[in-house]
Protein backbone atom coordinates (compact mmCIF):
# COMPACT_ATOMS: atom_id res chain seq x y z
CA UNK A 1 0.00 0.00 0.00
CA UNK A 2 1.47 3.26 -1.08
CA UNK A 3 1.04 6.20 1.25
CA UNK A 4 1.16 9.93 0.61
CA UNK A 5 0.04 9.55 -2.98
CA UNK A 6 -0.73 12.98 -4.37
CA UNK A 7 -1.56 13.78 -7.98
CA UNK A 8 -0.44 17.07 -9.49
CA UNK A 9 -1.66 18.32 -12.84
CA UNK A 10 -0.86 21.43 -14.82
CA UNK A 11 -3.53 22.55 -17.30
CA UNK A 12 -4.03 26.08 -18.65
CA UNK A 13 -7.15 27.79 -17.32
CA UNK A 14 -8.41 28.87 -20.71
CA UNK A 15 -7.93 28.13 -24.39
CA UNK A 16 -9.46 29.00 -27.73
CA UNK A 17 -11.78 26.47 -29.40
CA UNK A 18 -9.87 23.67 -31.05
CA UNK A 19 -6.57 24.73 -29.50
CA UNK A 20 -3.96 22.12 -28.72
CA UNK A 21 -2.67 22.45 -25.17
CA UNK A 22 0.13 20.72 -23.29
CA UNK A 23 -0.76 18.92 -20.08
CA UNK A 24 1.82 17.90 -17.48
CA UNK A 25 0.93 15.36 -14.83
CA UNK A 26 2.86 13.93 -11.93
CA UNK A 27 1.77 11.70 -9.08
CA UNK A 28 3.92 11.13 -6.03
CA UNK A 29 4.23 7.36 -5.77
CA UNK A 30 7.19 5.09 -4.92
CA UNK A 31 6.67 2.85 -8.02
CA UNK A 32 8.26 -0.11 -6.23
CA UNK A 33 9.50 -2.19 -9.15
CA UNK A 34 9.48 -5.63 -7.52
CA UNK A 35 13.17 -6.00 -8.45
CA UNK A 36 14.69 -4.55 -5.29
CA UNK A 37 15.63 -6.48 -2.16
CA UNK A 38 15.59 -5.23 1.40
CA UNK A 39 18.56 -5.49 3.80
CA UNK A 40 17.62 -9.10 4.67
CA UNK A 41 17.63 -10.15 1.03
CA UNK A 42 13.87 -10.44 0.75
CA UNK A 43 12.23 -9.20 -2.40
CA UNK A 44 10.23 -6.02 -1.89
CA UNK A 45 6.85 -6.69 -3.56
CA UNK A 46 5.90 -4.72 -6.63
CA UNK A 47 3.61 -1.75 -6.04
CA UNK A 48 3.17 0.61 -8.96
CA UNK A 49 0.68 2.78 -10.79
CA UNK A 50 -0.13 0.52 -13.73
CA UNK A 51 -2.44 2.73 -15.77
CA UNK A 52 -3.06 6.42 -16.33
CA UNK A 53 -5.94 7.91 -18.28
CA UNK A 54 -7.02 11.39 -19.26
CA UNK A 55 -10.51 12.19 -20.58
CA UNK A 56 -12.18 15.44 -21.56
CA UNK A 57 -15.98 15.66 -21.20
CA UNK A 58 -16.13 11.86 -21.47
CA UNK A 59 -13.91 11.59 -24.56
CA UNK A 60 -10.53 9.92 -24.25
CA UNK A 61 -7.33 11.91 -24.69
CA UNK A 62 -4.71 9.36 -23.69
CA UNK A 63 -4.61 5.98 -22.00
CA UNK A 64 -1.19 4.85 -20.82
CA UNK A 65 -0.12 1.45 -19.56
CA UNK A 66 2.74 1.89 -17.10
CA UNK A 67 5.26 -0.82 -16.24
CA UNK A 68 7.78 -1.07 -13.38
CA UNK A 69 10.36 0.64 -15.62
CA UNK A 70 8.60 3.98 -15.08
CA UNK A 71 10.47 6.13 -12.55
CA UNK A 72 9.35 7.00 -9.04
CA UNK A 73 6.71 9.77 -9.08
CA UNK A 74 5.49 8.93 -12.59
CA UNK A 75 5.45 11.94 -14.86
CA UNK A 76 3.50 12.07 -18.10
CA UNK A 77 3.39 14.99 -20.49
CA UNK A 78 1.11 15.01 -23.54
CA UNK A 79 -1.10 17.24 -25.66
CA UNK A 80 -4.85 17.55 -25.88
CA UNK A 81 -7.30 19.27 -28.19
CA UNK A 82 -9.86 21.46 -26.44
CA UNK A 83 -13.10 21.64 -28.50
CA UNK A 84 -15.25 23.36 -25.86
CA UNK A 85 -15.47 24.48 -22.24
CA UNK A 86 -15.33 21.52 -19.95
CA UNK A 87 -13.34 19.44 -17.56
CA UNK A 88 -10.32 17.20 -17.85
CA UNK A 89 -10.54 14.07 -15.77
CA UNK A 90 -7.34 12.29 -14.77
CA UNK A 91 -7.19 8.81 -13.26
CA UNK A 92 -4.27 6.80 -11.93
CA UNK A 93 -4.79 3.09 -11.22
CA UNK A 94 -2.69 1.57 -8.44
CA UNK A 95 -1.65 -2.11 -8.21
CA UNK A 96 -3.48 -2.27 -4.85
CA UNK A 97 -6.79 -1.40 -6.54
CA UNK A 98 -6.88 2.26 -5.50
CA UNK A 99 -7.81 4.80 -8.14
CA UNK A 100 -6.54 8.34 -7.66
CA UNK A 101 -8.43 11.09 -9.45
CA UNK A 102 -8.00 14.73 -10.27
CA UNK A 103 -10.14 17.12 -12.35
CA UNK A 104 -9.21 20.38 -14.02
CA UNK A 105 -11.72 22.74 -15.64
CA UNK A 106 -10.85 24.72 -18.74
CA UNK A 107 -12.77 27.62 -20.26
CA UNK A 108 -13.05 28.24 -23.97
CA UNK A 109 -13.72 31.91 -24.51
Amino acid sequence: MATGVKPRVKVPGSASAGEVITIKTLISHPMESGQRKDSDGNKIPRSIINRFTCDFNGQNVIDVTLEPAISTNPYVEFQATVPETGEFQFKWYDDDGSVYEDNKPITVG
Partner: protein
Amino acid sequence: MSFLPMRANAEAVDDLIAAFTGGAEMGDAGVDLNAPEIAENGNTVPVEVSAPGAKAILLLAAGNPTPPVAQFNFGPLAGSQTASTRIRLAGTQDLIAIAQLGDGTFARTSKTVKVTIGGCGG
Protein backbone atom coordinates in the same frame (compact mmCIF):
# COMPACT_ATOMS: atom_id res chain seq x y z
CA MET B 1 23.20 -7.16 -8.34
CA SER B 2 21.78 -9.60 -10.83
CA PHE B 3 20.49 -8.90 -14.28
CA LEU B 4 18.99 -11.29 -16.76
CA PRO B 5 21.40 -11.96 -19.58
CA MET B 6 20.72 -9.76 -22.60
CA ARG B 7 20.23 -12.76 -24.84
CA ALA B 8 17.33 -14.21 -22.86
CA ASN B 9 15.82 -10.76 -22.94
CA ALA B 10 16.05 -10.48 -26.71
CA GLU B 11 13.52 -13.30 -26.95
CA ALA B 12 11.18 -11.56 -24.50
CA VAL B 13 11.48 -8.36 -26.54
CA ASP B 14 10.65 -10.21 -29.76
CA ASP B 15 7.61 -11.76 -28.08
CA LEU B 16 6.39 -8.40 -26.83
CA ILE B 17 6.80 -6.86 -30.26
CA ALA B 18 4.95 -9.75 -31.89
CA ALA B 19 2.13 -9.41 -29.36
CA PHE B 20 1.80 -5.71 -30.21
CA THR B 21 2.09 -5.93 -34.01
CA GLY B 22 0.55 -9.35 -34.51
CA GLY B 23 3.68 -10.26 -36.47
CA ALA B 24 3.18 -7.52 -39.06
CA GLU B 25 6.10 -6.00 -40.94
CA MET B 26 7.51 -2.80 -39.49
CA GLY B 27 8.65 0.26 -41.43
CA ASP B 28 11.29 2.77 -40.36
CA ALA B 29 9.44 6.02 -40.92
CA GLY B 30 6.73 7.55 -38.81
CA VAL B 31 7.93 7.15 -35.26
CA ASP B 32 10.41 9.23 -33.28
CA LEU B 33 12.12 8.45 -30.02
CA ASN B 34 13.90 11.16 -28.08
CA ALA B 35 16.23 10.15 -25.27
CA PRO B 36 19.58 11.40 -24.02
CA GLU B 37 22.67 9.71 -25.46
CA ILE B 38 24.20 9.54 -22.02
CA ALA B 39 22.10 9.27 -18.88
CA GLU B 40 24.04 9.85 -15.69
CA ASN B 41 21.30 8.44 -13.51
CA GLY B 42 19.41 5.40 -14.74
CA ASN B 43 16.72 5.98 -12.13
CA THR B 44 15.13 8.75 -14.08
CA VAL B 45 15.81 9.08 -17.78
CA PRO B 46 13.59 11.50 -19.71
CA VAL B 47 12.17 10.07 -22.93
CA GLU B 48 9.73 11.34 -25.52
CA VAL B 49 7.91 9.29 -28.12
CA SER B 50 6.12 10.75 -31.09
CA ALA B 51 4.31 9.30 -34.09
CA PRO B 52 1.98 11.64 -35.99
CA GLY B 53 -1.42 10.05 -36.51
CA ALA B 54 -0.58 6.93 -34.53
CA LYS B 55 -3.13 4.99 -32.51
CA ALA B 56 -0.63 3.60 -30.03
CA ILE B 57 3.07 3.59 -29.23
CA LEU B 58 4.83 0.79 -27.36
CA LEU B 59 8.08 1.58 -25.56
CA LEU B 60 10.53 -1.17 -24.59
CA ALA B 61 13.88 -1.19 -22.81
CA ALA B 62 15.71 -4.22 -24.20
CA GLY B 63 18.26 -4.40 -21.38
CA ASN B 64 15.98 -4.08 -18.36
CA PRO B 65 15.09 -7.08 -16.14
CA THR B 66 11.56 -6.64 -17.52
CA PRO B 67 11.62 -5.01 -20.97
CA PRO B 68 8.14 -3.39 -21.12
CA VAL B 69 8.20 0.31 -20.21
CA ALA B 70 4.90 1.80 -21.30
CA GLN B 71 2.19 1.76 -23.92
CA PHE B 72 0.59 5.03 -24.94
CA ASN B 73 -2.87 4.78 -26.50
CA PHE B 74 -4.11 8.01 -28.04
CA GLY B 75 -7.80 8.90 -27.94
CA PRO B 76 -9.85 11.12 -30.26
CA LEU B 77 -8.96 14.27 -28.31
CA ALA B 78 -5.20 13.76 -28.27
CA GLY B 79 -3.71 17.04 -29.47
CA SER B 80 -0.75 15.23 -30.98
CA GLN B 81 0.56 11.69 -30.81
CA THR B 82 3.42 12.71 -28.55
CA ALA B 83 4.10 11.84 -24.92
CA SER B 84 6.98 12.31 -22.52
CA THR B 85 7.78 10.47 -19.32
CA ARG B 86 10.71 9.44 -17.14
CA ILE B 87 11.93 5.88 -17.02
CA ARG B 88 14.37 3.55 -15.27
CA LEU B 89 17.20 1.90 -17.17
CA ALA B 90 19.25 -0.90 -15.61
CA GLY B 91 22.30 -0.11 -17.71
CA THR B 92 23.50 0.94 -21.14
CA GLN B 93 21.03 -0.50 -23.62
CA ASP B 94 18.72 0.03 -26.57
CA LEU B 95 15.34 1.67 -26.21
CA ILE B 96 12.78 0.54 -28.77
CA ALA B 97 9.62 2.38 -29.78
CA ILE B 98 7.00 0.80 -32.02
CA ALA B 99 4.03 2.76 -33.26
CA GLN B 100 0.77 1.55 -34.72
CA LEU B 101 0.18 4.21 -37.34
CA GLY B 102 -3.17 5.60 -38.44
CA ASP B 103 -3.33 3.33 -41.50
CA GLY B 104 -2.80 0.22 -39.35
CA THR B 105 0.83 -0.34 -40.33
CA PHE B 106 3.66 -0.41 -37.81
CA ALA B 107 6.88 1.55 -37.55
CA ARG B 108 9.88 0.88 -35.35
CA THR B 109 12.79 2.95 -34.15
CA SER B 110 15.47 2.41 -31.53
CA LYS B 111 18.08 4.41 -29.70
CA THR B 112 21.05 3.43 -27.57
CA VAL B 113 21.29 5.14 -24.19
CA LYS B 114 24.50 4.99 -22.16
CA VAL B 115 23.81 4.73 -18.47
CA THR B 116 26.51 5.45 -15.92
CA ILE B 117 24.50 4.47 -12.81
CA GLY B 118 21.89 1.72 -13.19
CA GLY B 119 18.35 2.27 -12.02
CA CYS B 120 16.73 -1.10 -11.27
CA GLY B 121 17.59 -1.81 -7.66
CA GLY B 122 20.66 -3.88 -6.92
